[in-house]
Amino acid sequence: MAKQPNRPSRPAPRAADAAGATSRRSSLLWLWVALGVVVVLLAGFAILSAGDDEELTVGTTVPAGDGATDGTGDGATETTGGGQIAEAWPVEITGTALVQLPRDGDDPALGTTAPGLSGFGFDGTPVAVDPSEGPVMLVFLAHWCPHCNREIPELNALRDGGGLPADLQVVGIATGTDPNAENFPPSEWIPRMDWTWPVIADSPDYLAASAFGLSGFPFTVILDTDGTVLDRWSGEIGRDGIAERVAAALG
């Protein structure tokens, strides 16, 4: 009973609380509505502004006729597309594939004979690796790999500065191609990187990469004029590193 006088005062704070809660609820409702509207607008903007999805285009070939001039020997192929650009092309491997480059220790493939490799550039131009015309440096590159993106300018610097032997044939192999990954398509990425040597577009199942025992990107193989493997390495090593290993390999 002693509390009786307090009673009339109670409803007032409760009403204030209720009013505060109601206003808070309504402002929160507006927050959720505003967030929902923003999300819908962002979705609409994304749908309208995004480009088309990329797909891997694979070049088609037919057996070459009498006039085959690509020098790949038996089973030579030529393109049918007539200038079609494709990100992957069939490649032809002859001989025995090299074992994968081990992470550590000696490379068991050194001194063995590398398989023969021929294929096509992005535009269907036949490209064949022919060591008899001079030692070869094969550089396997993936468009999405940041280390490849860092190593190409190093190679370009050697090219422009005369840091590579004049008779060394450099051939790039665009492999690991993935239409969902960064810098696709490689047919645009390679020229953008100022890569001016011939490029073979690897097959969709990366046959060329596995034939040379690729263990990472970038991956480099140096072949002697008789096709013997002189050196293999994985990863970026910079212009000085490349120059040293090429000089050491070619003696």
Partner: protein, 214 residues
């Protein structure tokens, strides 16, 4: 998502990540600016649901890329997934229970997640920090996309973790773990003083506990 192409989905989720980043910055600014404290208090009841929405969206986006488009997660992606997926589940339970102690569980998860995200994002710009080569399997240095030139998946995760951390750390947490008893108390108070008197309960103690503990 079915109506969206992959590139549209990448853009949409990147925009959502930026929105989360804006929320994180806004919460920090409101906390720093004296006038912003009141706004943060208003936001309090929604903070756990908002944090859950962010974590759940990040989780859904991550699963969309990996399961629908077969973006294989790298090692660092997995560490971030552990933190983000767990945060989503913990935040859902915390939001349902109105658990003001949620920050004790969520902050360590999101804190670990944001550290990995920062390192992963750095690695994407400076791949030489870790290795000299991209592995044949799933290299952490390679990105699937760089939306607007800078928003990658790790950057999106970073924004998500930042928003969750800001909401958990800087928004005053309302509610209480004793939500069930709160509800009972609220019911008694709502029934009015006459009801309380009829129940023969001491009215005084029930008032403080019945008052919403905000």
């Amino acid at each position: 998502m079915a109506v969206m192409s992959l590139s549209a989905a990448e853009r949409f989720l990147s925009l959502l990540a930026l929105l989360a980043g804006v929320i994180a910055v806004a919460v920090v600014v409101l906390r720093v600016v004296p006038a912003g404290r009141a706004t943060l208090s208003q936001l309090a009841p929604a903070s756990r649901w908002l944090a859950f929405a962010i974590a759940a969206t990040a989780m859904a986006g991550s699963l969309y890329f990996s399961e629908v488009h077969e973006f294989e997660p790298c090692k660092l992606c997995w560490y971030q997934r552990i933190a983000m997926f767990s945060s989503a589940i913990v935040l859902l339970v915390a939001a349902l229970r109105r658990d003001r102690n949620a920050r004790w569980y969520v902050v360590p998860l999101a804190g670990a997640g944001i550290v990995v995200s920062i390192y992963h994002y750095l690695l994407e710009w400076y791949p030489q920090l870790e290795t000299g080569a991209c592995s044949v399997s799933v290299p952490c240095t390679a990105v699937w996309y760089r939306e607007f030139g800078f928003v990658t998946l790790s950057f999106s995760a970073l924004c998500g973790f930042a928003a969750i951390l800001a909401l958990m750390l800087f928004v005053p947490q309302a509610g209480g773990v004793t939500d069930v008893t709160d509800a009972i108390d609220d019911a008694i108070v709502a029934a009015g003083p006459d009801q309380e008197a009829r129940h023969g309960q001491a009215t005084e103690p029930s008032v403080p506990t019945g008052t919403p503990s905000r």
